[in-house]
């Protein structure tokens, strides 16, 4: 059954106000007992009506892409080995056999003794390309987006590089954070751009890679 939000033509304010629109779903995964918790959105993303199933490792495993050796649970095990938040691309099949390409963003879940008990985070569905008609509505109805286009495009460029996503997907990420934090997209994008220089990571390898791209890119432009 199609999601009602998807099948009706949304008004612009709905388009930015409804989390379901972005196909973002939350999860929690407890290591001991391998217990899962899905938000209603994540259940829908897998093809279930909210509350219709209890997610288990077996259920999650049944959605594994046949070409993948490991499934998302192994991704979440990252928190057993490394601190800090993480993100990773992943794919799975929903109950209709449709492939979903998702960005999984997670962080450690700890108890009050400081023991790492699991992982919590979000799936961002990057496969359903933002419906063109809806995007037009969004663009026309939100002059803010036009006014702030430069900052948004710059922030998108940064996300595209960091998360290895395309422009639409980068936009979805921004939209998601905007909704989640009830912050204007324009303000969010501008702040991301302002903070780009303070991102602490080992930039040397990236810079070396990019040096090569920058110095040789002219040779690869089709005539």
């Amino acid at each position: 059954m199609p999601d009602p939000v998807r099948s009706s033509a949304p008004r612009a304010e709905e388009a930015v106000a409804t989390a379901a629109d972005l196909d973002v779903g939350g999860f929690r995964f407890w290591f001991v007992g391998q217990r899962w918790e899905w938000s209603d959105e994540l259940a829908r993303m897998h093809g279930y009506e909210p509350g219709a199933v209890t997610p288990t490792t077996e259920l999650v495993l049944s959605h594994k892409h046949p070409d993948d050796r490991r499934h998302v649970q192994e991704l979440l095990d990252h928190a057993l080995h490394h601190g800090g938040s993480f993100s990773s691309r992943h794919r799975f099949l929903d109950t209709h056999g449709r492939e979903h390409s998702v960005l999984v963003i997670g962080d450690r879940m700890c108890d009050n003794r400081g023991a790492v008990i699991g992982t919590e985070g979000y799936y961002l569905d990057l496969s359903g390309t933002l419906d063109r008609a809806r995007k037009d509505v969004l663009d026309k109805s939100l002059p803010d987006l036009f006014a702030a286009r430069a900052a948004i495009e710059q922030a998108k460029g940064a996300l595209m590089l960091v998360y290895q996503v395309d422009a639409d997907q980068a936009f979805k990420l921004l939209q998601w954070r905007s909704q989640q934090t009830n912050t204007k997209l324009r303000a969010l994008a501008a702040q991301i751009v302002a903070e780009l220089t303070s991102v602490d990571s080992s930039m040397d390898a990236l810079r070396r890679e990019f040096d090569h791209v920058l110095l040789s890119v002219h040779q690869r432009i089709g005539s």
């Binding site: 928190a79 057993l80 023991a115």
Partner: protein, 132 residues
């Protein structure tokens, strides 16, 4: 008395996880090598169940699980080992984990399960720990 049993995966999984079992007078030693993830964990679970059965006696022996050569260890493996420990506790079999590799030791530590599954550096250390 000594017997040796080797268990490995189905055709698709050969080489990912290999498990051997050695039974001596004092202990049953289960040695796992390779990757323990959700695809191979059933093998480990079966090997641990067989190990517990062998260790149950009489006479009761210790079950020593060597994970030093495990190259991938996630929550699936952690649960299998924890279940084995708990089953052992209820069957009166002391279960000892031998591991010094970060791949195995770190998950046990960050989850603070090292109180239960204290990894011993060597089989000798594990055997010397007594069966308490």
């Amino acid at each position: 008395m000594c017997c040796c049993l080797s268990i490995s995966g189905s055709a698709a999984e050969v080489g990912l996880l290999d498990i051997t079992q050695d039974v001596s007078d004092s202990a049953v030693v289960v040695h796992a090598r390779g990757e323990v993830d959700s695809g191979t964990v059933d093998l480990l679970g079966e090997a641990l169940a067989a190990g517990l059965a062998a260790a149950g006696g009489p006479p009761a022996r210790m079950l020593v699980l060597i994970l030093d050569e495990v190259t991938y260890f996630g929550s699936a493996g952690l649960n299998a080992v924890l279940s084995c420990y708990e089953q052992g506790a209820s069957d009166g079999v002391a279960v000892r984990v031998v591991a010094t590799n970060a791949e195995v030791v770190r998950p046990i530590e960050v989850t603070k399960l090292d109180g239960l599954l204290r990894p011993y550096p060597t089989v000798t250390d594990a055997l010397m720990s007594g069966s308490g």
